[in-house]
């Protein structure tokens, strides 16, 4: 293991007078035994030195309401959807297409005169007769129509639940269309019932991008420091913010997978010297496959938070081992921090010591701890929605993860070094030198190594658990998604959406961090929560204290 992690010192003994173990027990109390056994593995007090095993990426229990999405959502919604010049066709009944129509805020700037296909939600809108007699003809016709209307460079097809069940062969339809139309057409078997969450969709999408796009265009690119950003989806313009920052440093991004990115950039991005990974969960497959096939090394970065951003920039500069670049990076960091630090300090002074909890995504629950930490807010509890054990415990745990049925049925591509195009981007010696200096290649240390001891790590948190967390530990702010935002706020706690950013952002890079500080300052400064109970109710309560709320409910 690399020594890169800065293991936090200190232990969360108790919050609001309640120890993490006591809170965990509250949460687990009264569950049916089978559920209890399962959840007990998913609620874990942390140990940053030796991360405990967590029961991540296990099936959601029927009837327990989850924030998780499906395989289709992970594939079409998250990974491929942001590519604005691929025309996306959802093969299925109307819902899936509609629901994935611009509901994630991955932004794109489209060159003048081009059409932004993200505005379009094309679906075969299957009807009963397609279910009964098969939908392949309908799909083929839809592809033809799409081509006739838009003449796109590429068309991508997504299978929804019924498609798999009735046995439509979308891949053969795509192959035929590709031949017929002379453009790239490919399909994804990302039926919603596959896998335990959207995570399965990420994997399927990675496979498809790798098979159908990566490496198609070998045009050389002679920029000096060429990298790809993997696992950055340009929510609220994050990718643009990172892009701008790297540009200042003289680093060129060939492609951001997948945010604000075009088809042409993707098919040429194997020309890069380095892949840096933001969201490990959704894209690690791609990083690995590109390294194997083309010899592009990868490592993990984090541009969320001022210190993390500085650290990530320095790591990239170190990788290229170029004095000029390293100096430039230091200049940029110094200039950015000169603006940021006073704002950070002012806001930190107001909120130092407040507590956050973050339950979201497959990397944001980790990344945003740094950003909250910048302004003195400690994350006392966190968990992912769809991550795997390695995202919690670090990639060194990978060999120990049992392959279950849900993972097994997702194709693992058999990737070999490309005969002509494999080229190590860094000499083995240089690489080893970096590793010896503690540089972590192809690694992710996981969230747990950066959280305090006894902080409560909760995978796929349920409403029930959230309720206990809020009532007992009283976090000052929670980072989550739209589906629990309103529950959290109904309970009087401000909730920052870390999927859609509440239609704000960007929060990446230094400029984004300043945005975020101000946003959190606003949320923690509003008086609205203090108004919730009307004064006459307060008066009455003061006059005659009521029975606790729960008893009332029971009555």
């Amino acid at each position: 293991m690399s020594t890169e992690a800065t293991i936090p010192t200190g232990t969360i003994e108790e919050v609001e007078g309640v120890t993490p173990d006591a809170l965990r027990e509250q949460m687990l109390k009264g569950l049916p035994s089978k559920t209890l056994r399962k959840r007990a593995k998913q609620i874990v007090p942390n140990d940053p030195e030796t991360p405990p095993e967590i029961g991540a990426n296990s099936r959601t229990i029927p009837g327990i309401i989850t924030q998780r999405g499906c395989t289709y959502a992970g594939c079409r919604g998250v990974v491929i959807g942001p590519i604005h010049d691929i025309l996306h066709i959802t093969h299925g009944p109307v819902g899936c297409g509609y629901y994935s129509w611009m509901t994630r805020r991955n932004l794109a700037r489209v060159p003048e005169g081009q059409t932004n296909y993200m505005q379009y939600c094309m679906t075969t809108d299957m009807q009963e007769d397609h279910i009964v007699f098969g939908g392949e003809k309908r799909l083929a016709e839809a592809i033809r129509e799409a081509y006739r209307l838009f003449k796109p460079k590429a068309i991508s097809v997504y299978a929804t639940c019924p498609v798999g069940l009735i046995g439509d062969d979308i891949h053969s339809v795509c192959r035929q269309a590709k031949e017929e139309l002379g453009i790239n057409v490919f399909g994804f078997s990302c039926e919603g019932y596959k896998g335990v969450s959207q995570s399965a969709g990420h994997h399927i999408a990675n496979n498809g991008v790798f098979k159908h796009m990566i490496g198609l265009d070998d045009t050389p690119n002679d920029a000096k420091y060429k990298i790809n950003i993997l696992g950055e989806y340009n929510i609220g313009g994050d990718a643009w913010a990172i892009d701008e920052l790297l540009k200042k440093c003289g680093i060129t991004i060939l492609a951001t997978l997948s945010g604000g990115v075009s088809y042409d950039e993707i098919i040429n991005c194997h020309q890069a010297d380095l892949n840096v990974v933001m969201c490990h969960r959704s894209i690690n497959y791609m990083a690995e496959m590109m390294e194997t096939k083309f010899g592009i090394p990868w490592f993990k970065v984090n541009f969320i938070g001022a210190d993390s951003t500085a650290k990530s920039l320095r790591k990239i500069a170190k990788y290229f081992d170029d004095k000029e670049l390293m100096d430039r990076v230091e200049e940029v960091i110094a200039a950015e921090l000169a603006v940021l630090r006073p704002i950070q300090a002012e806001i930190k002074a107001k909120h130092q010591g407040k507590k956050a909890a973050i339950f979201v995504g497959g990397s944001r629950a980790h990344h945003y701890q740094d950003l909250f930490g910048d302004i003195g807010i400690e994350t006392v509890s966190a968990g992912y929605e769809f991550a795997h054990r390695d995202d919690y415990e670090g990639r060194d745990v990978l060999p120990n993860i049992k392959i279950d049925a849900d993972s097994r049925n997702i194709e693992e591509l058999d990737v070999e070094p490309d005969e002509t195009r494999f080229r190590p981007r860094i000499s083995p010696e240089a690489k080893q030198k970096l590793i010896d200096a503690g540089f972590a290649f192809s690694d992710y240390l996981g969230m747990m190594r950066e959280m305090k001891k006894r902080a409560l790590v909760i995978d796929d948190i349920s409403h029930h658990e959230l309720e206990h967390l809020i009532k007992t530990w009283k976090p000052d702010i929670i980072g989550s998604g739209i589906k629990d935002k309103f529950i959290i706020e109904k309970m009087g706690v401000p909730c920052k959406q870390l999927h859609s950013y509440d239609y704000g952002g960007p929060y990446a890079s230094f400029a984004g961090a300043i945005n975020f500080y101000k946003e959190i300052d606003r949320m923690l400064s509003t008086k609205v929560w203090s108004y919730v109970v009307p004064p006459w109710v307060k008066d009455r309560k003061a006059a005659a204290p009521e029975a606790p709320a729960e008893e009332q409910k029971a009555a």
Partner: protein, 462 residues
């Protein structure tokens, strides 16, 4: 703040209006969404999807973006095994967990395309569950494969299922049943108020006016307060009459109201959704008839003020051209109102397949110019392509028309579902004189504001 994807206008040459296989930017949502909305309107009920978790997540996401309220939908969380071998185990576990965790007064089970495609025998499965789970509350099941119909069908089917599966033999009482259709929370509150103003106790089904437009909690609530009680639904057989809103329902559909009429003899009063004068008038007259009481002065006064404002501002709206889109019955109501105020609807579009839509619209609004295009099964690319040829001055419908409004540089007055780019989308009042007043003011003031803003010199009086 960084901005989103560009809304580049379509190149003119592209003919976007002749697609048959692909739906582009649908103007409809899927059936289980409608059913979930209905189940959320039952007191203490929890909606439950028999299918994969993704459907629940997507539907919740969409309903939340409109209502800005918690919206829990449980699911049986199919995985690949269940897809192959059937979801009995998951259904059982799911119902058991939901019962235990929420102690719901009812569980509303809607099937998804997944369970529908594999042909789950829901009646049998639910019977098994009832035997096996001792504390299972009433479970109502509705079949909602999204390859059959759209969200509005899921909505009506869920209402029918509730009545079909819950109502007990009649025990006559003086109340009325109200089946409002898919309306806003403000609509539901106002309808209740109107019916009660005639001294009539009312069972409104569904009633999500509180469950999806509630206050911030003073104490924790596992299930939001409000909704139609199961008990009240059971007693709907004893009502004086059923008021059922929806012009399209009048035609051939077997509706919840016909169910009550056929099984229990409850008089069915099918009315247009009370949007605008004519349809509100019809409702008031029905209430006078049923209650035997004259229309209360407060309502007449609201009507009077509305008329007065219509006199004041008809010059602003008269002759303007409108495109209206959304659920068929909503479009009919809005179209009727627009004709009353002198706005000319040039395109009335519904996204769902609704064979009765054109007929129902022409019957409800006989003065609608024959040149007006009335079409069901349209997507937004159709609406855009057809609509812009008709040179409208205003769009009326849900948030999904924003791109078109922007491209045409005309205002969009938001109505229907979903409205996710304004605050209070769930509280838009469409019905009654008060709703008409709000729409009227909004339409007039939208035109006035544009006139004022676009003027190179600035109007001080208007």
């Amino acid at each position: 703040m960084i901005e989103e994807f560009s809304l580049a206008e379509e190149p003119q040459s592209r003919d976007l209006s002749h697609c048959t296989a692909a739906t582009r930017n649908a103007c409809k949502l899927c059936t289980p969404l409608g059913a979930c909305l209905v189940f959320r309107g039952i007191q203490g009920a929890i909606p439950f999807l028999h299918g994969s978790q993704g459907c629940s997540t997507y539907i919740r996401r969409y309903l939340i973006s409109h209502f800005r309220e918690p919206m829990d939908i449980a699911a049986s969380n199919f995985n690949e095994d269940s897809a192959v071998f059937g979801g009995a185990k998951n259904l059982h576990a799911g119902l058991k967990n939901v019962s235990r965790q929420y102690k719901p007064a009812m569980i509303g089970v809607a099937t998804t395309c997944l369970s529908e495609t594999i042909g789950e025998d829901m009646a049998a499965l639910l019977l098994d569950c009832r035997r096996a789970i001792p504390d299972l509350p009433p479970v109502v099941h509705v079949s909602t494969a999204s390859y059959r119909g759209s969200h509005i069908d899921g909505f009506h089917d869920a209402v029918t299922a509730l009545i079909d599966q819950l109502v007990l033999p009649p025990d006559p009482h003086g109340g009325v049943n109200l089946l409002p259709g898919m309306l806003s929370t403000a609509d539901l509150r106002h309808l209740r108020e109107l019916v009660e103003a005639f001294g009539l106790p009312v069972t409104m089904l569904p009633d999500y006016s509180d469950t999806l437009d509630g206050p911030t909690w003073m104490d924790y609530e596992a299930l939001p307060e409000g909704g139609t009680s199961v008990e009240a639904i059971r007693r709907m057989s004893g009502a004086r009459a059923t008021l059922e809103f929806g012009d399209t329902l009048r035609f051939t559909r077997r509706t919840a109201a016909t169910n009550l009429a056929e099984r229990f003899g409850v008089v069915r009063e099918n009315l247009g959704t009370p949007i605008g004068l004519r349809a509100t008038e019809a409702m008031i007259q029905a209430l006078e008839r049923i209650s035997g009481r004259p229309c209360p002065t407060a309502i007449t006064a609201e009507r009077g003020r509305l008329l007065d404002s219509m006199v004041d501002a008809h010059k602003v709206v008269f002759g303007k051209r409108a495109v209206v889109y959304g659920e068929a019955d909503l479009v009919i109501g809005l179209t009727s109102f627009l004709c009353e105020i002198g706005v000319e609807p040039v395109l009335c579009a519904s996204g769902g397949k609704s064979e009765h839509f054109p007929t129902a619209l022409r019957v409800a609004v006989p003065e609608l110019p024959s040149t007006c295009v009335v079409r069901d099964n349209m997507d937004f690319v159709d609406i855009d392509a057809v609509g812009k040829e008709l040179k409208p001055d205003i769009l009326i419908g849900n948030s999904k028309g924003y791109g078109m409004a922007r491209a045409l540089d005309i205002p969009l007055v938001r109505a229907g579902f979903p409205i996710h780019d304004r605050l209070g989308g769930q509280r838009v009042l469409h019905v009654g004189y008060r709703g008409a007043q709000q729409f009227y003011d909004q339409i007039v003031n939208t035109f006035l504001a544009r006139k004022q803003e676009k003027s190179t010199v600035g109007y001080s009086y208007l």
